[in-house]
């Protein structure tokens, strides 16, 4: 049954008794056309677009925990299309377009809020680099404006323009960027996929991938064997372990990225502000919490919890950039497992095993890619052809050096992107 303001009123009058489950709890069938390993944002959106765009519904999403329990449920909710290298530009542009229609497409209010993303710069050289980025965004058909100091001051009057460690030279404003309610994205795709007949199976951990003569045949799970014509690995930080079940080594190292939220505060930060010199970024949620984060903890980890030095570094950056934030109290900090690649860009590709597909390597940027990744991966799974906006995300680019997308320019050290 659809969601609407009218329905909310009606159910309110009748004690909320008429609401029904937003998705079923089906038992796994013996066989599916496609088994998607991983019930996070990317896995759920892949299932949704397989059903919606390709009419494929004999599909299972296998989730070892609860739906949306991975990085889609623990990120800082930022949505943007401000990449500058070909291959990334068109993909994130496409994804942003999908974000803008998501609420109607899913009949779910994911609270996409295009508050504007401002990346600050602090030298002439950085200004030029951001100009290049902004130009790439406009060339791609997205929006970007180069702000001078006065422009930044107008939008972000609370920054320390006088005494901050790195003087603010300006910023790149991306008005269509913003935030969304992360859990709702997972739930909206889950509900949409379920309504179209996809089986979402929680508490079902994949323990093996069945391969015969180079062709994938299905998976072993904690709820029994499931046959499948195609198997899609969409397991983010756990991609290495799942791929190892198929005998593959991936160009991925898993790292912890922390995030933080403060107690609820009255509106004070309207934009998404990103401070590259301090590896600090921040926005304010609709509930009033300041949501912020920094850089990776820098060592390979699956612990999903952050270390103290990085917490302190992030808060020190906050203090030099916006000292008015000092009295805000950090309420909670957590960590997600990032699937870091050697060039910081993702992988959506087939593998050398027939029928086995990969969608991984999203580093710390997977949330904004949720719709685009699902759309493009569904295209690849359904048609066997790369979807044009994601055609650059090849697995073999590392081996051959063709089409590397190293936005940071830091090279093949996984944790530097």
């Amino acid at each position: 049954m659809g969601f609407s303001g009218f329905r909310v009123l009606k159910e309110g009058l009748f004690g909320q008794k008429g609401w029904t489950p937003q998705w079923r709890n089906p038992d796994p069938k013996d066989e599916y056309d496609i088994v998607i390993i991983g019930g996070g944002g990317h896995g759920l959106s892949t299932a949704f677009y397989l059903a919606k765009e390709h009419g494929m519904t004999n599909i299972a999403v296998l989730e070892k925990g609860y739906l949306g329990g991975g990085n889609v449920g623990r990120n800082t909710t930022i949505v943007r299309a401000n990449y500058f290298l070909p291959g990334n530009s068109e993909f994130y542009s496409h994804s942003l377009n999908l974000w803008e229609g998501m609420e109607q497409e899913l009949n779910y209010n994911t609270m996409m809020s295009q508050r504007g993303v401002i990346n600050l710069f602090h030298s002439d050289g950085q200004r030029d680099a951001f100009a290049r980025r902004g130009n790439a965004m406009v060339n791609q058909g997205d929006d970007a404006e180069l702000l001078d100091v006065a422009g930044v001051r107008k939008h972000l009057p609370y920054l320390d323009f006088e005494n901050g460690r790195f003087p603010i030279y300006g910023g790149l404003l991306h008005r269509r960027g913003g935030t969304a309610r992360h859990d709702a994205v997972a739930w909206g795709y889950a509900r949409g996929a379920d309504q179209r007949g996809v089986d979402l199976i929680q508490n079902c951990e994949v323990t093996g991938i069945d391969i015969e003569a180079g062709v994938v045949k299905g998976v072993q799970t904690t709820r029994g064997a499931i046959r499948a014509k195609k198997v899609a690995i969409v397991t983010a930080g756990r991609s290495g372990q799942v791929a190892a079940m198929a005998g593959m080594r991936l160009p991925i190292e898993s790292h912890v990225l922390q995030a933080f939220v403060t107690e609820g505060l009255k509106p004070v930060i309207d934009h998404v502000v990103s401070y590259g010199m301090g590896h600090f970024y921040i926005s304010q949620s609709d509930k009033g919490g300041l949501v912020f984060g920094g850089d990776l903890d820098f060592y390979a980890s699956y612990a999903a919890r952050g270390n103290l030095p990085m917490k302190e570094h992030v808060m020190e950056a906050a203090m030099t950039l916006m000292p008015m934030i000092g009295k805000a109290r950090v309420l909670r900090s957590w960590g997600g497992i990032m699937d870091m690649t050697p060039d910081g860009s993702p992988i959506i590709d087939k593998t050398h095993i027939e029928g086995l597909f990969l969608d991984c390597g999203w580093c710390y940027g997977g949330f904004k890619a949720v719709p685009g990744s699902g759309y493009s991966f569904a295209h690849l799974l359904a048609t066997g052809q790369h979807h044009a906006p994601a055609a650059g995300f090849r697995l073999d680019r590392f081996r051959d050096g063709v089409g590397l997308m190293d936005e940071e320019g830091t090279g093949a050290q996984h944790n530097l992107h």
Partner: protein, 87 residues
């Protein structure tokens, strides 16, 4: 995290720089072929559990260390100087 530097003793994580898997110790010959080099530079076992990785005591003695560590718990079970690792 604290790491017991064989030269300096136990020190806080913030004194160390991390580079990645100790695979770096096994650098292929320059003519080993693309697959060997791809594996060396890009591919990782990325274990959820015990791993050996390389840390630099940059804000200390400058030693590069091979640290045996659990990626699930961050427990450190062994630290040796990279120089002394027999290959």
């Amino acid at each position: 995290m604290r790491i017991n530097c064989p030269v300096c003793g136990e020190r806080d994580r913030r004194e160390f720089y991390y580079v990645g898997d100790a695979v770096a110790l096994d650098r292929p010959d320059r003519d080993a072929g693309l697959d060997a080099w791809d594996s060396y530079v890009h591919l990782r076992d990325n274990p959820a559990g015990l791993t050996r990785d390389l840390w630099h005591h940059e804000a200390g003695c400058g030693a590069w260390l091979v640290v045996t560590r659990n990626t699930g718990t961050h427990a450190v079970s062994d630290v040796v100087l990279a120089r002394e690792v027999v290959r």
